[in-house]
């Protein structure tokens, strides 16, 4: 979801050096030799085979001559018989002088058998073959250390046979060519542990590719015609086109920063026209604001008959692939400890030696509670930690405090990431409040998107740097803004100046904040970060999480909640194979115990009870009292006065939406409108209310229905946010109305089947929640069954008109299976 750069070269390709073992990648000059026939390099480790890699190659390829590396002890040396120059390594061996500490290579046929040698000063009785025990003599070509071998690619004898066969036909083939799955193959599923990073790459690489292909296919098929445009001009004098971009379930949702192409086919007075632009915002009226790149020739006197295409960018996927590759080939990408932990190897626990601060809170932040202090304290002493932050437990404040203390250890700059821009902004703001110098790095495509932390962004700081030596940059910037473009000489100068300034500002920061994908930005190319914190890490895929880690991580903090929604994977094949599992979750499965924040400050205690018992083993404590969540002056018909919640029994039928791809439920929508109107009438503001529904069909229907039928001012209804569960994750509202929609006895409950989605839906409200649904259908699922039972036991399961709610006696069904 992050656009790439228009003008800069993408990340450097990190490749293994030329002299890497073609089997395993080891490239320590002391451990490798080059085959003089095919000029490939091989190492002297056995790996998983009975002979060393170089001996394996020579035997299988029937190649016989080798050369040492220029940086080895002997320098670049072709091994040959000292006497006759024979280079067949299968014939060579060392003999030593009888009087001097000197050895030479001598071939066993014929030189070793020349009688005259015996009379000289050489000891022929101890001819030592160069290849001994299927290895080169380890004092000539070193055997890589165990540590080196563990980080190398593990190749089996079968794979060696296969690749050697392949080389006979195509000498430049790589091991990856062997692994390439067929088009219709199910991808290899993710594992808990990986032998080494190549295996990791072999599993995740194809999954990322699948997702990328799907994403591309889906987005590029999203062209819409007959779009009506209204025109505007931005403060930066660029043209902005406003239009409605229809969307459906499961289809792409536009986000700021997305790139779209706007086209006009031409007519009698206008020639055909098109321009690319970036989405800078989505208005409350569901309009897209597209800032056009070109300002010349825009047909601003026309409004109808435009077409819009999505411009797909591979940037984020490319960066994931690059990060996996870096992990495999670059020993310095992460510390040895983190490398092995990431791959699930059992390593001896490590402690970070550090002087703990006396106070664990940070200036500018609220005081920390016990579990938050515990989290900060523990994180500072461990190279890898997980923090689980259930809803409303102060994850962001805790993260900011951690970053504050990490930064004060002067280990270099701290990198702070999250998968979403919203989360990065929130965290950047909190960290900045502690007094640390924060730079928020945005994708170039998002520079025009407004942000609550604009003053922290790199592009803003570059623009507003107020020193005389930057005046040249300012002059050029002004010129560029005025004219739209610069002469090529000026453009070059402008770019160089800008790059230098960006670098200077970024380097002077204590903390760099960006999205996970943003950590692969070329502007961070030569930056190293030993300490990395990733917030909302349970919403990122593993390869996405890897992008910020491979910049030198030695201490990693993953914050998230694996009991809430995970990353969104569009490609079912990739999701089935496990791409939707986050790194956080895998580490939990590997036995890393997350530190849980347990005091929640969001929900009325009555609302937190069910989530606490069902998702957090009853550990959630309430940091607020009922009195702090009293709805004073709000006259709403809660069935139990100090329990601001009820399940509103709905028996109306579900329907397929007009688009044919989604569901809606008219009865529920009608009741949502009535509930909303009641809230508004008692003085609740529209911004305090959120309507959650899992189906796009229902969402659209509710929005439409409310403004048509609602008895109050239309604008009030328009301000109410109606959205999917997923888009409410990480946020809160005072009142939540949840419309479940599905009411078909013979089908599943679709989206609502995922316990993590239910958890998110139930934990958004601060003051009160109303759930609308069909208990007969929902009770078939175990978790919903216990939710319904919970409401019923508290006399909060009701039916009838809103002004006369009665306990419902509806019968539940037996849950089908305990498995969720």
């Amino acid at each position: 979801e992050e656009g790439g750069d228009d003008d800069s070269h993408e990340y450097s390709k990190r490749d293994l050096p030329e002299h890497s073992c073609k089997y395993c990648g080891i490239h320590n000059p002391a451990c490798i030799v080059r085959c003089n026939v095919c000029r490939k390099w091989f190492c002297n480790s056995r790996g998983n085979t009975s002979g060393s890699h170089i001996v394996n190659h020579l035997v299988r390829a029937k190649h016989k001559e080798v050369c040492l590396h220029k940086d080895s002890t002997l320098g670049e040396t072709t091994l040959e018989c000292y006497n006759c120059g024979c280079r067949n390594v299968f014939l060579l061996g060392f003999i030593s002088s009888k009087t001097e500490s000197v050895v030479v290579l001598l071939c066993r046929e014929p030189c070793l058998n020349v009688g005259a040698l015996k009379d000289m000063n050489w000891d022929l009785s101890q001819w030592q073959p160069l290849i001994d025990d299927r290895c080169f003599l380890s004092w000539l070509v070193k055997v890589p250390t165990e540590q080196e071998q563990l980080r190398a690619r593990q190749i089996s004898a079968q794979q060696i046979n296969k690749v050697e066969e392949l080389w006979k036909i195509s000498p430049d083939a790589t091991l990856e060519d062997l692994e390439k799955p067929g088009v219709d193959d199910e991808p290899q599923p993710v594992a808990l542990k990986y032998e080494e990073a190549y295996q990791y790459q072999n599993v995740f690489g194809p999954l990322v590719k699948l997702e990328a292909d799907y994403d591309k296919m889906m987005k590029e098929s999203q062209s819409k015609d007959n779009i009506t445009v209204r025109w505007d001009v931005g403060l930066n004098k660029k043209r902005i086109a406003y239009f409605v971009f229809p969307k459906e379930d499961n289809e792409l949702r536009l986000v700021p920063g997305d790139e779209l192409r706007l086209r006009y086919p031409g007519d009698s007075t206008h020639s055909a026209w098109q321009s690319v632009g970036h989405v800078i915002k989505l208005t409350a009226q569901e309009e897209v604001a597209l800032e056009l790149r070109a300002s010349q020739g825009v047909p601003i006197d026309v409004n109808h008959n435009f077409s819009v295409d999505f411009v797909w960018k591979s940037t984020s996927f490319d960066r994931m692939q690059a990060a996996m590759k870096t992990l495999a080939v670059d020993d310095t990408s992460v510390s040895g400890y983190i490398y092995h932990r990431l791959l699930g190897h059992e390593v001896e626990a490590q402690l970070i030696r550090t002087t703990l601060p006396r106070r664990f809170g940070a200036p500018g932040l609220p005081d920390l509670n016990v579990s938050q202090v515990q989290a900060v304290k523990s994180v500072l002493q461990k190279p890898v930690s997980l923090i689980q932050g259930p809803p409303g437990t102060g994850k962001t404040v805790t993260s900011a405090a951690i970053v504050y203390h990490l930064a004060r250890q002067s280990q270099g700059q701290v990198l702070v990431c999250a998968p979403s821009n919203v989360a990065v902004d929130q965290l950047a703001e909190k960290i900045s409040a502690t007094g640390l110098k924060v730079v928020r790095l945005c994708a170039k495509s998002r520079e025009a998107v407004s942000s609550p932390v604009e003053h922290l962004t790199l592009h803003y700081q570059v623009k507003h740097l107020d020193t005389s030596d930057k005046s040249e940059l300012h002059k050029l910037q002004l010129l560029k803004d005025e004219q739209g473009e610069l002469s090529s000489a000026d453009e070059k100068k402008y770019k160089a100046l800008k790059r230098a300034t960006e670098r200077e500002i970024a380097q002077s920061a204590d903390v760099i904040c960006c999205t996970c994908v943003g950590a692969g930005d070329p502007r961070l190319l030569n930056f190293r970060f030993r300490q990395v914190l990733i917030d909302e890490s349970t919403q990122a895929t593993e390869p996405e999480c890897l992008i910020p880690l491979v910049l030198g991580a030695k201490q990693v903090v993953l914050v998230g909640d694996h009991c809430q929604l995970g990353p969104v994977i569009m490609c079912k094949k990739a999701a089935r194979a496990g791409l939707a599992q986050s790194l956080f979750e895998r580490l939990v499965l590997l036995g890393v115990k997350p530190i849980r924040l347990v005091v929640q400050y969001r929900m009325h205690p009555a609302l937190s009870e069910f989530p606490s018992n069902n998702f957090y083993e009853g550990t959630l404590q309430n940091g607020i009292t009922m009195n702090e969540r009293l709805t004073v002056g709000i006259d709403f018909p809660w069935p139990v006065p100090n329990r601001p919640m009820f399940f509103y029994v709905q028996m109306g039928q579900e329907e397929i939406s007009a688009s044919g791809t989604s569901y809606l439920n008219r009865t529920e929508a009608a009741n949502v409108e009535k509930i909303v109107t009641t809230f508004l009438k008692t003085g609740v503001l529209p911004t305090q209310i959120g309507v959650i529904t899992p189906y796009e069909g229902q969402r659209a229907y509710i929005v439409n229905h409310m403004s048509r039928i609602g008895s109050l001012r239309q604008s009030l209804y328009k301000e109410i946010e109606v959205a999917s569960v997923d888009s409410f994750q990480g946020r809160e509202k005072d009142f939540i109305i949840l419309s479940c929609v599905r009411s078909n006895e013979h089908q599943g409950i679709g989206f609502l089947n995922d316990p993590r989605r239910l958890n998110v839906a139930l934990t958004r409200a601060r003051f009160g929640i109303v759930i609308l649904g069909n208990p007969k259908v929902l009770s078939k699922q175990a978790l919903w069954n216990s939710l319904l039972t919970h409401y019923k036991e508290h006399e909060c399961l009701v039916e009838g008109p809103l002004n006369n709610l009665k306990q419902s006696m509806v019968q539940f069904q037996k849950p089908k299976k305990v498995y969720m």
Partner: protein, 123 residues
């Protein structure tokens, strides 16, 4: 600085069949190499094996590995193993060169030289 202790030992799982097959192939290559040389080299090569003493200025210092005078030749006993400094004689084109090479004391090459030396001393 970056020391990691990995708990699980690497278990080398080598298929005995694979091992036997590889051993056969290796022997075949060896044999074939020897045979081809026997056929190829009819006449015995001239010998050119004199150690060029000029490469060792002050040959005394380098005469035997037991000398402990020069830093190169000290026994290296840092990590339990001990190496002995040797010189490898190579030809670059027609030029002779020597290069330092450390050979472990327990290698058969060093062992035999030591035994010889001991025998010589006894004589």
């Amino acid at each position: 600085e970056d020391q990691v202790k990995i708990k699980q030992k690497k278990v080398m799982e080598i298929d005995p069949e694979e091992e036997a097959e590889f051993e056969r192939e290796l022997r075949a290559v060896m044999q074939e190499s020897i045979d081809s040389r026997k056929l190829e080299v009819r006449s015995r090569p001239a010998l050119n094996m004199v150690i060029p003493m000029n490469l060792f200025e002050g040959s005394k210092e380098h005469s035997r590995m037991t000398d402990v005078e020069s830093g190169d030749e000290t026994v290296d006993e840092h990590d339990g193993g001990s190496d002995v400094a040797y010189r490898v004689l190579v030809k670059k084109g027609n030029k002779q060169q020597t290069k330092q090479l450390r050979i472990p004391r327990d290698s058969s090459l060093v062992q035999s030289t030591k035994q010889k030396e001991a025998a010589e001393l006894e004589e």
